[in-house]
Structure formats: C-alpha cells, structure tokens
C-alpha cells in the first residue's frame, strides 16, 4: 500500500515536464532556430552571431524552462544586463575600433561621402516602413537594418522598439551574410563594365600622426554634433586610439581578441532568446525581412549612384563600385567590390580603396542611429 504515493509522485513528475506545454508555434520556432544553426555551420553565414541566435531561439521556446523570465531567467539576465543596459553593443564597438584601419579613408577623405550616401537606404526604408503602418520608432529600428551594422541595429532597436529586436537583428545579420548575393546584380545594373574597370589613382601615404589624431578629433566632433551617438562612437574611437597609439598593445590585443570574442559570445544568445513564438510568428515579421532587404538594396544603389555623380566633378575618376562599399558590412562589401572590379579588369585591385567607404559607412550608420535616437527616443 505504500507504493501508491510513490506512483503518484512519479506521475506528478511527468506533469513538471515541458512536453505537455509545447505549442505548435514553439515547434515552428525550433525549425527556425535549427535553420539558423544550419546556415551558420554548414554555409558559414555569419556564424559568430547566427549560431548563438539560433540556439537562443531554441531555448526561448522551451516551456517551463523560463530562461527568459524577468528577474529570474538566466538568459533574461544576460539580456537585461548586457543588452537592455546597452553594455554589449558598445563593447563590441570597442573591439571593432581596435581592429579598424582608417588609413584607406584618410588617404582619400572624399570617400566619406560614399559612406554617407549609402546610408540613404536607412532613411528610405524608415519612411516606407512608417507608410506601411509601423510606428515611427519601429520604422527606425527597421530602417537601420540598411546600415548593415549588427551592434548598431541591436543598440537602436533595444531603445526604440525592443519587441522587434530579434527580427531586426536576424534580418541584419542574414543580409550581411548575403551581401555577395545581394549587391552584384545591383552593381551590374547601375554601372558599365568600363566604369567597373576604372583603376584608382594611388592614394597618398597617410602619416601615423593623422591616424592618431583621427579618433580623438572624430570623437569630439561627432559627439558634439550628435550626442546620442556617444555610447557607440566613444567606444569605437577609444578602441581605434588604442590601436594607433601603439603603446598599449596589451589593451589593443585584448580588445581585438579576448574582449571582442567574449562579448560576441554574450550578444547572440540573448538576442535569439527574445524570439519566442508569440513575439516572432506575426505577419509583421515578414514585412520586416522584406523591408530589411529593400534597405540593403537601396543603400547599395544610392552608394553607386553617388559615386557616379561624384565622377562628373572629378578629374581622376573613382571606380563607382566603391559606392557599394559604403554599405558597412565590413569587410564583406569591400571584398565584393574588389571581386567585381577584378572581373572587369583582372589587374584592378580595389580592396584597400573599398575599405575607405566601408569603414566610413560604420560611422555613418552610428550617426544615423544617433539622429533617430535624438528625434524619437
């Protein structure tokens, strides 16, 4: 007779399992999470982010695990203290600044216009998204996808439209991985083979002092102009200053490696964990993905067209492909530009020239985010 309470206990154990609480929505999210993991591992699509995001999606869609339960869940704590407190995206910028070489931009400062021009996709998409019914804050988060910058997208969406964080982040990173597919058709459409074969005139040599003053001066100028961009720009530029000062190699190395890797590790998982079934399986998510693609395409086009426009005034023509590198997927877009240039003329070495607008575009996207925050935050 003492077996009965034991059986009851065992039966009640089964009630604590999550199986009975699974919904079809959760299973769909599992499929999405596994797809992202597959794309990350098998196709190497932005694996540093899409792998943890994919896994975070799985974790967020496990009932009763409560990993995203406010104040208690493990992943909620990562999300709250890392992302809601806006710590992780700026730290990623610290690492990126330590990795970035502004030499190609400083050697030919006019390329900064291409970095700015390619941000037009952000603004077009912002207006279009708002027309489609998204609120102004939501539209800003969707528009910034066109800046092709993951941490900036996460930073802005967390502040303005946190319920869209997962969708916007996955869209941004997916399209960054797809830049080699998205950009070439637009580049071929808007440029002639002769234009693609233009060889760049050799840039001037940049003095180390210029590379040292650049992070200091740009920090002061940009933060005075757009104070809301301070968290991201300040970290980007101090990382760059560490690198160019050359006297803090231990800090630079840590920023480029240990810090960047550790923070990247903590970035993807909570972003993925915000994508639970109720939040993600809505029609608006399809629109976000379409608008995000639209943003990338418009940015590529405006960068190319601006470069062609600049050529009307320049004696030494620039290769208009460089405009596409203003889409700040570093260095993917620069690599695509180089490949397209080499296809037109195999001795055309555009890579380092393309890095100019590529890194300028990062700053451009941060400034765009700062402007959105100032006006809408």
């Amino acid at each position: 007779m003492t077996d009965i309470p034991m059986i009851e206990k065992l039966l009640s154990l089964t009630a604590t399992t999550g199986f009975l609480h699974l919904t079809p929505g959760m299973l769909i999210m599992w499929a999405i999470g596994i797809t992202l993991i597959y794309l990350a591992i098998a196709k190497e699509y932005e694996p540093l982010l899409l792998l943890p995001i994919g896994f975070g999606i799985l974790l967020a869609n496990l009932p009763l695990a409560d990993l995203m339960k406010p104040d208690e869940g493990l992943l909620w704590k990562f999300y709250h203290f890392g992302i809601q407190w806006e710590i992780i995206p700026p730290l990623i910028f610290l690492g990126l600044g330590a990795l970035t070489d502004f030499g190609p931009l400083l050697a030919r400062p006019s390329l900064i216009f291409l970095g700015a021009g390619a941000q037009a996709g952000v603004y077009f998409t912002f207006f279009f998204a708002h027309l489609m019914g998204f609120s102004i804050q939501e539209a800003a988060g969707i528009g910034i996808i066109g800046g092709a910058d993951g941490p900036t997208t996460i930073f802005l969406t967390t502040k303005l439209a946190p319920h869209l964080l997962g969708s916007c982040a996955v869209a941004a990173y997916s399209y960054m991985a797809l830049v080699p597919i998205i950009q070439p058709p637009i580049m071929k459409l808007l440029t002639t083979p002769e234009e693609r074969g233009i060889r760049m005139k050799k840039s001037r040599k940049v003095k180390p002092l210029e590379k040292l003053l650049f992070p200091i001066v740009s920090t002061l100028v940009i933060i005075l102009l757009v104070p809301a961009s301070a968290p991201l720009i300040s970290m980007f530029m101090i990382g760059n200053l560490f690198r160019e000062a050359k006297v803090v190699e231990r800090l630079t190395h840590a920023a480029q490696n240990e810090l960047l890797n550790i923070v990247t590790l903590f970035l993807g998982l909570p972003v993925g964990a915000t994508m639970n079934a109720e939040n993600f399986l809505q029609p608006r998510v399809i629109f976000i993905f379409c608008l995000g693609l639209f943003a990338f395409m418009i940015s590529t086009a405006t960068g190319l067209l601006l470069a062609k426009a600049m050529n009307l005034f320049l004696k030494d023509k620039i290769n208009p492909l460089l405009g596409a590198a203003g889409v700040s997927a570093v260095p993917m877009a620069a690599r695509v530009v180089h490949k397209m240039g080499a296809e037109a003329d195999k001795k055309n070495y555009l890579l380092m020239y393309a890095m100019g607008p590529n890194v300028a575009g990062v700053i451009g996207t941060v400034i765009a985010a700062g402007i959105f925050l100032t006006l809408l935050g």
């Binding site: 260095p331 195999k346 001795k347 070495y349 890579l351 380092m352």
Partner: protein, 71 residues
Amino acid sequence: MSEEILAPLAGKIVKSLLKVGDKVEEDAEAFIVEAMKMETPVYVPCDGTVQSINAKVGDEVAEDDLLAVIE
C-alpha cells in the same frame, strides 16, 4: 628592360608560383596575396625570365613592396 613586380595591396603572401630562372609570360600568376581573408592574384607584368624573388610565402607585405624582378 627589367620590370619589378610590386605588391598591389598590403597583405600576406600565401602562394609563390615562380622560381628564379623561370621563363614567364605577361599576365601569368606570380603570387597570391591574402588580405581581408580574400585571396588576390598578382600577375607577371611582362614576358621574360625571373631574375630574383624578393618575397616568400608567409611574408607580410605592404603596398608597393618589391616581390620579384623580371628580366
């Protein structure tokens, strides 16, 4: 009549396809340079014979560094 092969961009030499004394034709591949995780070929500028090789696999080169001389 000798021509230098200079590095067209900064990067790391990952392949060196010539040996001293080789007869080469213009536009043959001479080196492969890796930059930004992308491999870029460097081509022979003119017909001739390889007179000297000044860079080897693994070297980090800057733009315009001398890689080889063709006679």
